[in-house]
């Protein structure tokens, strides 16, 4: 059993990420191909919407993979290729939304909410510790009563 698990663990260690691109689409130059795959992973497939074009089997994703590779091969920079796709499909095609005025709430919102929550919690706890000063020590009379009570009802 343990050996089986070990074999499985070894096998999964070698399993690369699944890629939809078939070998005929891939560029011969491995450096260019890895750039193409890197860009493809950042681009949304517009048919399936939550997959990247590199992972999708949709025809449109395939077309975009081919075009991304053509543009890379023709010597365009990564930014130029991305801009080509964004010019046609808008920011929506980027799986990682760009940081700009219209997406400020998206990027900053969660952190702002977290900070507001922390500030509120801090204020709440500070107020509570300030509001309740430690009680004064017991007087001699109170101590005697406490001892009497403990004698009658010993803590179990």
């Amino acid at each position: 059993m343990r050996r089986l698990l070990l074999i499985l663990a070894c096998l999964t260690a070698f399993a690369g990420p699944a890629i939809a691109a078939d070998p005929s689409e891939m560029l011969k130059d491995p450096a260019l191909e890895s750039r193409a795959q890197h860009l493809g992973k950042e681009l949304r497939c517009l048919v399936c919407q939550s997959e990247s074009i590199e992972d999708s089997n949709a025809d449109l994703a395939r077309d975009l993979r081919v075009i991304v590779r053509e543009r890379i091969q023709s010597g365009e920079s990564d930014d130029q290729v991305m801009q080509y796709v964004v010019d046609r499909y808008g920011d929506y095609v980027l799986l990682r939304p760009p940081f700009k005025a219209s997406t400020l709430v998206l990027w900053v919102g969660p952190f702002a909410l977290l900070l507001a929550g922390l500030a509120a919690a801090a204020a709440f706890y500070r107020r509570r510790t300030n509001a309740a000063p430690p009680p004064p020590p017991l007087s001699a009379e109170e101590k005697r009563r406490l001892e009497a009570l403990l004698k009658d009802h010993p803590p179990s």
Partner: protein, 180 residues
């Protein structure tokens, strides 16, 4: 005043809930097109076989009149559903319709038009990888663009053109553009 402060999380939740509720009722396929109010992309698509020598679709063909550009393909099932209505638009003479035969074998596209009727004035072949369609920001077929007299894209309709969409949205836009 302190009491109101305790209501703040509830208010924040309500605002978020409203946003999410609206998000649920939106159709994720209705993407805003970035090409609206931009000129028709540069293209010079060859004609389909058997449709005549000068029936391909080029950028210059879309100037001078308001026109529709319809993305279709012989493989596209929703296009079959849309087709009879395009034929009726052609019969009514309301507006010229041009086609882009997207991701298709041009011979198959020509056969499909012969079988189902040909509502188009010009048809450009755009076989895979569908460069012209990608220049139009197409995400699926059918899609229909309204192009004004100056060759500027003014509206994009996603999915089959229905009687309702035509009467309520497309035709009023076309009429409006024709007066300009």
């Amino acid at each position: 005043m302190r009491r109101l402060l305790y209501l703040l999380p509830v208010a924040v939740f309500a605002v978020l809930a409203l946003f999410f509720l609206r998000g649920l009722s939106l159709n994720p396929r209705d993407l805003p097109s970035v090409l609206i109010d931009r000129p028709v992309p540069e293209m010079a698509l060859p004609p389909l076989p058997g449709r005549g020598p000068d029936t391909g679709l080029a950028t210059a063909d879309l100037k001078g009149r308001v026109s529709l550009v319809n993305i279709f393909g012989s493989w596209c099932i929703a296009c079959v559903q849309e087709h009879p209505f395009l034929m009726r638009i052609k019969q009514s003479g309301a507006v010229p319709i041009h086609g882009i035969d997207w991701r298709d074998d041009p011979a198959e596209g020509a056969k499909w038009l012969k079988k189902n009727g040909d509502p188009y004035e010009r048809v450009g072949a755009d076989p895979a990888p569908g460069r012209a369609a990608i220049d139009f920001g197409v995400t699926g077929a059918p899609e229909t663009f309204i192009v004004d007299k100056a060759g500027i894209i003014r509206y994009k309709h996603i999915g089959p053109v229905t009687r309702e969409a035509w009467d309520k949205t497309l035709l009023p836009i076309i009429r409006e553009l024709e007066t300009k």
